[in-house]
């Protein structure tokens, strides 16, 4: 059953939810949120698309295969952990670079491997949840 109302709404919702999921990802750095919950919200955005217009349409909108997305995410998470080896720290030691200062209080913002790890988690969750949900949607 295709509903024109849902299909129209889904298109708008997709954008909104993706923006919100990225917001959650970044917010999780210091407040509740993070890669896992962000990934779930992002996956929901595509699932709404799949419910409204079918799994094939959701895959078309996603462009890449969800499995590859999850694997790339895992790679990113792993790379962020292994990056510590470059400066001879134990693996998964967070590496921080403060911009415009030299500590949490004074710096304008920071570049760090912790956020990169979270981005990896985001992609893993997004990819694996979508991979399950879309193949279930195709079965039904």
């Amino acid at each position: 059953m295709k509903s024109i109302i849902l299909m129209t709404a889904a298109r708008l919702l997709l954008v909104l939810m993706l923006v919100f999921s990225i917001f959650m990802l970044l917010r999780g750095h210091n407040e509740p949120g993070g890669g896992f919950i962000g990934g779930l919200i992002g996956a929901t955005a595509f699932i709404v698309q799949a419910v409204a217009a079918g799994a094939a349409e959701a895959r078309r909108v996603l462009r890449v295969s969800p499995e590859a997305l999850a694997m790339v995410g895992l790679g990113i998470a792993l790379a962020s952990g292994l990056f510590a080896g470059v400066v001879f720290d134990p693996p998964f030691t967070g590496q921080w670079h403060w911009v415009g200062g030299d500590s949490y209080e004074t710096a304008a913002f920071s570049l760090n491997t912790v956020l990169v790890f979270d981005v990896g988690v985001y992609l893993v969750v997004l990819g694996s949840v979508l991979s399950l949900a879309l193949s279930l949607e195709e079965e039904v």
């Binding site: 792993l78 998964f92 030691t93």
Partner: protein, 510 residues
Amino acid sequence: MIWALSLPIFIPFVTGIAAFLMRSSDAGKWVSVGGAVASLAASIFLMAMVLAEGHVTGQLGTWVAPFGITLVADLLAAVMVLITAITGLAVAIYALGEVSERLERLGYHALYHFLLAGVCGAFLTGDLFNLYVWFEVMLIASFGLLVLGGSREQIDGGIKYVALNLVSTIMFLAGIGLIYGMTGTLNMADLSGAIAEVENQGLVTVVAMMFMVAFGVKAAMFPLFFWLPASYHTPLFSVSAVFAGLLTKVGVYALMRMFTLIFTGDVGFTHEVLLWASALTMLTGVLGAAAQTDFRKILSFHIISQIGYMTLGLAIFTPLGIMGGVFYLVHHIIVKANLFLIAGLGGRLAGGTDLNRIGGLYKSSPMLGALFIIPAFSLAGFPPLSGFWAKYLIVKASLEIEAWFIAFIALLVGLLTVFSMTKIWAEAFWKPHPDKVEPHFGRVTKPVLWASLTPIIGLAVLTIIIGLGPQPFVEFAERAAEQLLDPSAYVEAVLGASEDATGDAAEEAQ
């Protein structure tokens, strides 16, 4: 130090990701083999370090023990990682000849390497919750491998596998929760001391039994083994070989770790339960095998009976017993994985693994017959193969504590194992093929044949080496058993090392 410890976990992960991204080309399978070689190198390096230092410990992310995730390798952990890498490489080569292009596209190699990462992680972790996480990684990857291809039979086996493993996982998690509530720590070395200070020792014993059930399911002990023969005969031979060799052994390893390091407060009760459970595991496994007529199902039931020997070694809880358990663990992984690989090649040549429908393997391919004899007789405990020494140690240990009946069962099970092995021999190798097929090596292409034979020969050679020159291996097992029975060095290696780290951090802060 920490890098040497974490590489055997990271390499399979990286390999898995790379193999997945290249899954649609031929490069994927070579990445898989290359990664397995790299893992082997890393685990040999780790083994060398452990041999030199006794314990190697490290903290992920520089968070000190007992708060951060500890990785720790003693002799037992190091040898398990090494043997995982050896089996991993053997099966990765075997898979070159077996895994179809369709399954490769579905990500077989990635799942395979994630499984190996999970296994190595479980061996190396020094943190109880982290151990749970590695069990989950293993479960997810193994479920994927089990149902890959999605035939009806596979899904059926997969459901049973996952349902029972989930029960075990929940039990495990509940036990972790209780133990954390009682002691406030999950670091194994820290727990070793903290558990003795708990007032309510009765509750500790209850938790110990929960862990025994949880790991008992994973290790396929009596009476919780039925998921194993229900699922292990369905997937690819490569998959069932690595399952048979490694997965149940992780359960045995966890039992060994927990019941030497942490739950030693009420040995009279917990290890007595383990003793009888082991005896029944040996017996039911071997009797179950006697009733089967499928090559792989017979072997699956034999995994169960052999698991009994290993846990028996632990249950006896003397230096000799633990030593026998460790030796058995190592010997059995090689032998059992090899038997499944042989079953795979034999099945492909003769057109199936149902013993009533195949035959003539010895006449047409005598080499395979000779290669089958080595692990089969080793499994049954014929001198001078590795299994003889393993059984000898266990039986001697049970005689030493005057457990006559247990020793009798152990010997009886050995005899019944011979019965099953000769049944396979008579049906699959000796009798003529019922459909007049000649199962000679020419029935598969050259590359496939060599991809299958190389790991089989390699593992058989290892079995013979252990059998003919057992002295260094026995000495190694003895040292490993000493370490297990005296956890103080383990505790010091983990917690003492972290005090140094704290000191360093404090100095840096100044």
